[in-house]
């Protein structure tokens, strides 16, 4: 049922970025920009993506990138979008921020921009920690994961940013994963057809942060989806559609342990925490399935 999209050959991320080997932030961004095309400006707060661009006067990105202070991507993008629209320009304004810049320090600016109906696409690539500063916990870090500020494993749950966005009732919101680039490409293309604020939340496995070997990033993203830890869906004018890959996971998820075991950040996680994670996954999947059935 899924058609394979025609993905443009043009590259907007050039060779020699400063990303780590196996970085899915860069992989995701590559497809985001292929979908958005050249009439696009990226607004990037402090995050790994600010580093990946390279060092002035060089840049590895082939679209304009406006780097801005950590808390302010959505507000800056608001101003930019309004200015372009006032000038009669259709230029895509994409705020591209990490989980820290979205779920934590940037949430106020983001909520404001969504409430005001800003015409922009906000993308949160989620590597589930503060990658830029060396992997401290964020609101996106899952329960039980070790980071440099949660050396024995995080004791709080991952913040449900998608539910918070849904409460703003945007015309379009979606989740995606760097391991499924075609799905991501389609969602970005679609998001950019709407007027008003749209949101895409991309799971971006990160080798140094999650502590797995660099060649396993795609595998890790797939395991996240297959275990139900990450769910692919889109919500268009309130109507939820769960992606085929995640439907399969709802029917029969792979054991969560298959996802946790290869990752050093979950090393030594206690079985009780794994149970809580499992319960939360089941609850989330049931909630989404019910919403889809009802909508």
């Amino acid at each position: 049922m899924d058609t394979i999209p025609e993905i443009p050959k043009e590259e907007y991320i050039l060779k020699c970025t400063s990303a780590c080997a196996g970085c899915s932030d860069s992989l995701a961004l590559r497809y985001v920009l292929k979908a958005a095309g050249p009439d696009t400006v990226l607004v990037v707060p402090a995050c790994c993506t600010s580093v990946i661009q390279g060092i002035y006067p060089n840049t590895a990105f082939n679209v304009p990138v406006y780097n801005i202070a950590f808390a302010s991507a959505a507000a800056c993008a608001s101003g930019m979008s309004n200015a372009f629209r006032a000038a009669g320009k259709k230029t895509n304004v994409i705020a591209y921020a990490g989980d820290g810049g979205t779920l934590d320090i940037g949430i106020q600016a983001m909520s404001g921009a969504f409430e005001r109906g800003t015409d922009f696409l906000y993308i949160c690539y989620d590597n589930e920690a503060y990658g830029n500063t060396g992997m401290q916990r964020s609101g996106g870090t899952p329960l039980g994961a070790r980071t440099t500020t949660t050396p024995t494993g995080k004791t709080d749950n991952k913040k449900d940013i998608d539910a918070i966005i849904a409460a703003h009732d945007p015309p379009y919101q979606a989740t995606a994963c760097a391991a499924y680039p075609q799905d991501l490409f389609k969602k970005v293309t679609k998001a950019l057809t709407f007027r008003g604020p749209t949101f895409i939340h991309i799971l971006a496995p990160c080798p140094p942060g999650w502590r797995y070997s660099t060649e396993k990033s795609v595998e890790m993203g797939k395991l996240a989806v297959k275990s139900g830890m990450w769910v692919l869906y889109e919500r268009e004018y309130g109507k939820l559609t769960i992606g085929a890959q995640s439907k399969a996971a709802i029917k029969k998820p792979i054991p969560l342990e298959d996802y946790l075991a290869p990752q050093g950040r979950f090393k030594g996680i206690d079985p009780k925490t794994v149970d809580i994670l499992k319960q939360r996954i089941a609850k989330n999947l049931a909630k989404l399935a019910a919403e889809e059935a009802a909508s």
């Binding site: 400063s18 780590c20 080997a21």
Partner: protein, 175 residues
Amino acid sequence: MFEIRIHSRGGQGGVTAARLLALAAIHDGKYATAAPFYGAERRGAPIVSFVRIDDRPIRIYSQIKKPDMVIVLDASVMDVVDVLQGLKTGGRVLVNSAHPREFKGFTSGHVDLTGIALKENLVVAGSPILNTPVIGALAKQGIVSVDSAKKAIREMFSDERNVKAAETAYEEMSA
């Protein structure tokens, strides 16, 4: 003051080697500082760390321009970096290598730190640990005493294989 510049790649333990060396020098009753130079380089890119050893407190924070000694933990950086830059005439070069390396006008030495680490099975996340054996090699060169080298290693690492690797490097290193 004795100034040492260590060349390595990010993640190879150059920073820890600098730290161990400074700690060993302090155990010798000297003053020492270890300063990694943090650039905006890519991970895995060539990096440098600096060690200064002196009989009085060290008040210099800027980079070492004219080292007395250069240590190369990864010979492949020599393809992209001039490791001899600023090295004092007659200064020493120590290269992690199984084969002798000649540097004209300088006192050169080599020791197979990688081989030693592999022999001791000192491997973390697929990479051999070079920072503890190199301290053994430096003890042989008289930069720090053997006792202080061992003491420093034991303070920073609980695994005795690190001390063994340093001992092997001490034996294999030419004086």
